[in-house]
């Protein structure tokens, strides 16, 4: 379940929508540099895979479940800007067609899952990838990136709740609870992200945007994008 309507008041929801729209507009421009005739289909494929994977909730104990976000995965495969757009496509389809996540809350969900989680996943991966030289190593770094992206998104929600939550709660208690359960969910995210990234890196390291400039992507194979 993404954030439904009603949890966050309208002013904060609207602010999130405006912030999201602004960042996504930048993302569209910046993504052009990362998208070529190989990465563009990979971005489309990522959206499809992430949509499908988000339908498969896994238990994390104590009568609670979690599901993949896929933000780190998307960022690593197609770069942070295209990654934001990938997650936004998924979230928008989920909200409009399946009533999964509120409509007025779409900005909130985009900020948490398509921006915060994507950026955290990207930054962590880029920090760690310089230390690895094998697909398995890349998988481990990707796993850590995926793992951390989930509580980051959860904390982004807590911040929004602090600003515009509609029911009075103990913020410390909610922060601790959200952080705790999302660390558990992050383990699942990390495992899936690590497995998928190591598989793609093993077969097609040349198309993985997250590997640019690293040992795993020889310069000659790096996609050369010539702006039209």
């Amino acid at each position: 379940m993404h954030v439904p309507d009603g949890f966050i008041d309208l002013p904060v929801s609207l602010a999130a929508l405006l912030v999201a729209a602004g960042i996504l507009a930048i993302a569209v421009v910046k993504a052009r540099a990362d998208l070529d005739d190989r990465t563009a289909p990979l971005a489309g494929l990522s959206a499809v895979f992430i949509f499908a994977a988000q339908m498969v909730n896994f238990p994390v104990g104590a009568g609670t479940s979690g599901h993949l976000i896929g933000a780190a995965l998307a960022a690593i495969l197609v770069g942070p800007w295209a990654g934001m757009l990938v997650l936004t496509v998924v979230l928008t389809i989920q909200a409009l067609l399946f009533a999964d996540g509120g409509l007025s809350a779409l900005g909130i969900n985009v900020v948490n899952l398509a921006i915060v989680a994507v950026l955290v996943g990207w930054v962590v991966f880029r920090l760690g990838v310089r230390f690895v030289g094998t697909p398995a190593g890349a998988g481990v770094v990707a796993g850590v990136a995926g793992f951390l992206s989930v509580p980051a998104a959860a904390m982004s929600f807590v911040a929004e709740y602090a600003l515009g939550g509609t029911a009075p709660v103990s913020l410390e208690a909610v922060a601790a609870a959200m952080g705790g359960v999302h660390l558990l969910i992050g383990v699942g995210e990390g495992i899936i992200t690590g497995l998928v990234v190591s598989a793609v890196v093993a077969s097609r390291p040349d198309i993985v945007v997250g590997l640019r400039g690293s040992r795993l992507q020889p310069a000659a194979a790096t996609a050369q994008v010539v702006p039209a």
């Binding site: 439904p4 289909p41 494929l45 895979f49 238990p59 479940s65 067609l97 959860a154």
Partner: protein
């Protein structure tokens, strides 16, 4: 590239049209925290709640086939929008 795309699409179909039927129905992390900390009731129904595929079922049917169909429709729509959008953004390359 084609092999990777085919493999990925196949996995998506298996996930959305099959494995999703065995997914845990326990409340997810956010829902659980909302219930435990007293703000779950603040949630209101989305304006899209009347959509025919709402809640990943076809017209509210509980049947497994309905869930599978909803998932597969989602996969097709996401593929169309996803592949189309990124092609558009990419524009014409030399």
């Amino acid at each position: 590239m084609k092999r990777l795309v085919l493999l990925g699409l196949t996995m998506a179909v298996v996930l959305a049209g099959g494995l999703s039927l065995y997914a845990s129905s326990a409340p997810d992390g956010l829902e659980r925290v909302a219930q435990d900390h007293g703000f779950a009731a603040a949630g209101t129904e989305s304006a899209a709640a009347g959509a025919v595929l709402a809640d990943y079922t076809v017209a509210g049917s509980d049947a497994p086939l309905s869930g599978a169909m909803a998932g597969l429709i989602g996969v097709v729509v996401t593929a169309a929008v996803g592949f189309g959008l990124f092609r558009l953004i990419r524009g014409r390359q030399n």
